[in-house]
């Protein structure tokens, strides 16, 4: 106590200690980073004439976007939208059905190490590649059209759903699991009674969310030829029909917003 009351005359300075203690290293890294940034920016080729032409084209594009044309290719648009919705429904249902066994197998608290590793690697493969890359592979395998799109989306759904499902299963309350095992129930019955009730609401929520993602992705994968509204969109761009493209984009926006609203509502109700 005596020391505390005696000391306030001389005030000690304090500063936040620097992240890197060595000043040479600290300033060297900072200056180095700035030089690299300057060099990197100057290395990007900027063609003024090309930008000017592009701006003009962009202006034309925007002005036709302001006058969307729903009528002249309405039939194609209709077919594209229906195809996209079909792809979304089929791929979501198939993907979810396939993801449940994979997700169960990828939960460490339910299975032995070999099964766990096998299921985890399926998930990793599915999640490594972006939908567009997978779509290109499937288009090469099955040709242009919605089949390639459905396979792509179903495959991507497995990775997404199985990973989140497995994480949920790993976090369930272990006590009921133990209790059901103690009754003499085997693996399948234990999963049915102790695991599924704890994750089913979340499974439904995730499926609805994935439906929403698949609809958006169905427009993207169409651009590489995997069917749906994306293919229709791609065709209009190739023909410079920007007014039709605008109509398609508006329809996609409305569709995605609607499913997002509905899926959000359903997921809130489930909680």
């Amino acid at each position: 106590m005596a020391e505390l009351t005696a000391s306030p005359v001389t005030s000690r300075r304090w500063r936040k200690p620097p992240l890197i203690r060595n000043p040479w290293l600290r300033w060297g890294l900072l200056i180095g980073a700035l030089i690299y940034l300057a060099v990197a920016i100057s290395s990007v080729p900027v063609d003024d004439a090309r930008i000017a032409r592009g701006l003009e084209r962009g202006g034309r594009m925007i002005s036709s976007f302001l006058r969307p044309d729903f009528a002249s290719r309405w039939y194609d648009i209709q077919i594209g939208v229906l195809e996209s919705l079909t792809m979304t429904v089929v791929s979501t249902v198939a993907g979810v059905l396939l993801s449940v066994p994979v997700g169960l197998g990828a939960a460490r608290n339910l299975v032995s190490a070999p099964i766990y590793l096998a299921c985890r690697s399926i998930i990793t493969i599915s999640r490594t590649f972006q939908e567009v890359v997978i779509a290109i592979v499937f288009v090469v395998m099955f040709g242009f059209g919605p089949l390639a799109g459905v396979c792509t989306l179903a495959f991507a759904t497995i990775g997404f759903m199985a990973k989140l499902l497995a994480e949920d299963i790993e976090e369930i309350d272990p006590a009921p699991l133990e209790a059901i095992r103690a009754t003499g129930a085997g693996w399948l019955k234990t999963v049915t009674y102790a695991v599924m009730p704890q994750v089913s609401a979340r499974l439904v929520g995730l499926s609805v969310y994935r439906f929403d993602i698949n609809l958006r992705e169905s427009a993207i994968v169409g651009i590489v030829g995997a069917g749906g509204i994306g293919s229709t969109l791609q065709t209009t761009f190739n023909r410079y029909d920007y007014d039709v493209a605008a109509a398609i984009l508006l329809i996609i926006i409305v569709l995605v917003m609607t499913t997002e609203l509905v899926s959000g509502h359903i997921r809130r109700r489930l909680q």
Partner: protein
């Protein structure tokens, strides 16, 4: 009924939870297993139905050597061993009836369990048990709508519908208020007597155990250090089990405990709040 010989459990971490336990529980006898946290009580009862795999030693239920069974035969034997848990271990999103019927999972086939098409005999028995534990009006309520005491009653019904030969009971009252604790202990010991079950109850509350049980086994650091009647638990014996403490002062606390039970205000509110936590 149950015979345990030189049971040892060493966890992969190196902890020796059990160091050669020998224990016999004859038919119809209720044994309270007491001891400090970490003494191996929980491990011991989980070794009996091999939820925890023992390292060495033998366990016999009647003529069956549990420790030598294949996975398939083990599941058949588990049907004859009911288990009751500290935090009830009910499946909260299932109804009371589904939770009780889940005790029959070892007897029905997968599709019967999937579609909840249990044999009529099982359903009759479930209704009878729910009546016995006083939950007839809660059949289709979801388990998470019940208070702590009610949940434990469901847990008891689930264990009994297995038509077990013995019960393993893990801290049945640890999450309950004093009054409900006594009711649950009374229910378990009564049902055990009615059905002639061998019972092992892990319990922290020594005065409660002394009140309801004729034989007490004290476990310390994985070894049995006391096995005898409740009256034999002198302060010296308690020190053997739990370590140095002023056990006379503990008696005063026990007195305060029963005074709390005299409180005219019933305590399910307390039970509900602990179970929600």
């Amino acid at each position: 009924m149950l015979r345990i010989e030189k049971l040892v459990k060493q966890y992969p971490t190196g902890d020796r939870a059990l160091r050669g336990v020998d224990l016999m529980v004859p038919e119809g006898e209720v044994v309270a297993l007491i001891g400090p946290s970490g003494a191996g009580k929980s491990t011991l009862i989980r070794c009996v139905n091999r939820l925890v795999e023992p390292t060495s030693g033998k366990i016999w239920l009647r003529d069956t050597e549990i420790t030598a069974l294949s996975a398939r035969r083990l599941r058949q034997v588990r049907r004859r061993i009911g288990m009751i848990f500290q935090e009830y271990a009910l499946v909260e999103r299932l109804t009371v009836m589904e939770n009780v019927l889940s005790g029959r999972l070892g007897y029905v086939n997968f599709w019967q369990s999937w579609f909840r098409r249990f044999p009529q005999h099982d359903v009759d028995q479930a209704f009878a048990l729910l009546e016995r534990v006083g939950l007839s009006d809660f059949v289709d309520k979801r388990a998470d709508e019940l208070s702590g005491g009610q949940r434990q009653r469901v847990g008891i019904a689930r264990a009994l519908i297995q038509s077990p030969d013995m019960l393993l009971v893990d801290e049945p009252t640890a999450s309950l208020d004093p009054k409900t604790s006594r009711q649950i202990m009374r229910l378990i010991t009564e049902l055990a007597r009615e059905r002639g079950l061998a019972v092992i109850i892990n319990i922290h509350d020594v005065p409660l155990a002394q009140l309801f049980v004729k034989r007490i086994v004290g476990l310390r650091a994985g070894e049995i250090v006391y096995d005898g009647p409740p009256e034999g638990l002198t302060p010296e014996r308690l020190t053997d089990i739990y370590g140095e403490e002023d056990w006379g002062a503990g008696q005063a606390v026990a007195g305060a405990d029963s005074a709390q039970e005299m409180d005219p205000e019933p305590s399910p509110i307390f039970a509900a709040s602990t179970s929600n936590a």
